[in-house]
Point group: C2
Chain length 388, copies 2
Amino acid sequence: MRQSLPALVVKALQQVAGQDPVALHEPAFNGHEWDYVKECIDTRWVSSVGKFVDRFEQDLAAYTGAGYAVAVSNGTAALQVALLVAGVEPGNEVLVPALSFVATANAVSHCGAIPHFVDSDEATLGVDIPALARYLDEQTEQRHCQCYNRTTGRRVAAIVPMHTFGHPVDMPALLDLAARHNLTIIEDAAESLGSLLDGRHTGTFGLLGTLSFNGNKIITTGGGGAILTDNKELATKAKRLSTTAKLPHRWAFVHDEVAFNYRLPNLNAALGCAQLEQLDGFVAQKRQLVDRYLAAFDNVPGVSLYRERPGARANYWLQTLILDQEVADQRDSILAATNDAGVMTRPIWELLSSLPMYQANPSMELTGARSLGQRIINIPSSPELVRG
Amino acid sequence: MRQSLPALVVKALQQVAGQDPVALHEPAFNGHEWDYVKECIDTRWVSSVGKFVDRFEQDLAAYTGAGYAVAVSNGTAALQVALLVAGVEPGNEVLVPALSFVATANAVSHCGAIPHFVDSDEATLGVDIPALARYLDEQTEQRHCQCYNRTTGRRVAAIVPMHTFGHPVDMPALLDLAARHNLTIIEDAAESLGSLLDGRHTGTFGLLGTLSFNGNKIITTGGGGAILTDNKELATKAKRLSTTAKLPHRWAFVHDEVAFNYRLPNLNAALGCAQLEQLDGFVAQKRQLVDRYLAAFDNVPGVSLYRERPGARANYWLQTLILDQEVADQRDSILAATNDAGVMTRPIWELLSSLPMYQANPSMELTGARSLGQRIINIPSSPELVRG
């Protein structure tokens, strides 16, 4: 008797992940997590300043090759502050992939700016650059070296490429396109810590890049994020904006602009320092996991494991199945069967342009994003799945 | 030879705090901090959901007597979300004491609303209610049960009383005044966890109240805050708004409004649970410290220790000296002498209305705030100063 596709997927997943219930992604704490966190408690330096905050920022800069890293409370805060220091103003439009987590668009909204949605393609799971190039030529015009939306009349200030599940967007091509259209690039590298393109770390191609250390990410601080940049002035501004813009003084409280309390506590930075020490190991484990899944899915018809493209070294943060168009209608059956079997899986996000608060926003045609949105399933991706 | 006033103050402080360098406020971790934090790491539940987040919210509600508590990433976030769920809209004015930490006004600005500054008096260090009553009668008018500023034409939507250094504002009088003028009350209780008025916890008089657990507060989570309310609907909205407004679903990512990532990580909530268990002890220690300082300052002319008024049970978060008007010109000499001697002291904040970004904001006469602003000095206040 021939097995159904959902049953075959369950079988392939359990071949790799075992028969016990398995989460989509769990952090691994096998390094100095205890030592560093205990040191915070023992020394009573748990809060918004402390040696682990400084060290985490230095370690992140060293790891990514960015000139500067500024630690903040989470990835959404990182992106909001990066957009602000990049000069995005209320009423500007910012190009954002419709196929992303809601935080990418929310951070734009928190600046008073307007997310303008762009398409994604299967080549990178990120911005469809050729389609975007055609769209910008039609939809926008340059005035005084600034890009304007012909329909809305609003300035299009920036673009936020997001490196989906750790797969790098084609940044050289995007840098080229953005330069031609006077768009600032702020990379949303929330999912791609450890991912390289042509040997260069994601998040360091744009004027600024942002990271996330939420509990489901490749390394975690509980909650946390960071801003990367090579520009010292922007790094200084980002630090000021995320720490209430207090002027240095022995005792006086003078703050010289409306700013935020987006500090990363020392307690969380301590966890981050310990996690970052293990990042290369996590990436290696996740890359081994690809091979195991490839073998397991070899005989499952209509289902492919998403793989990095040439030049990319992906962190494979979330392992990704893509269904052929012919079996796309079975996605929900596969999600139900796998989750019923205790193997946690999930679809990619709903298109941001279809969420109630963003339905009226400007958007290009989303042919690629719509297709990917119906065909992607994320499968268990914890580094420890390849431990045994 | 008669000693100078700064020298007398140094001597009095060292009589209580000893000869070694002493901080303004340090947390004490003598309870289950390490046990609970270690449990998070061992179980790998460090992030934005987890049992300590739920427990911390329940414990805070139980401790304060609020119907509901919603834990968030810090006190600024708590106040922003509280203002939003209370219905404050962009372009509204919100009455805020000019004598407060910058976060009180920034949270209003983050809602797109406009801080409108009000005076403080020496009776409570908070809102000068009789002066505010006269000001509102002159400056505002009621239309369709809403309060409007006659000069700017903008709606005045709310008032944010702040319980300075843990000393409760006269809430019954303020409730009365706010009702007459159709103002919603959101209490900034960032400094007053553990402070009661007529047996009732600060932060539970208004429609909503907010707390902070920054590292310098009476209890700390590293960074953190909470929203208190008796209104279930508002509590639910606050939780939604602070957690990206994701709709519950087994796997789908649907979010139905522009919301925030203001989650308190489980790791930080764990610290908070352990700290909250010790709060009554901290309040008791701080209240004993008052007596020690009273004795030490008994013979220092022109300098008084600020004390709670009848009906109030203050947490005495920061111990406060008030200089008589005649010696107010010696404030900076006293700050310099004490800090030079290794005894950390600091003045109260600059008036918010004098900061560059708020100088053009609407404001009532700030006679009281200006006088207090020149005469207040905070002195070492750690609970452990009375341990020995």
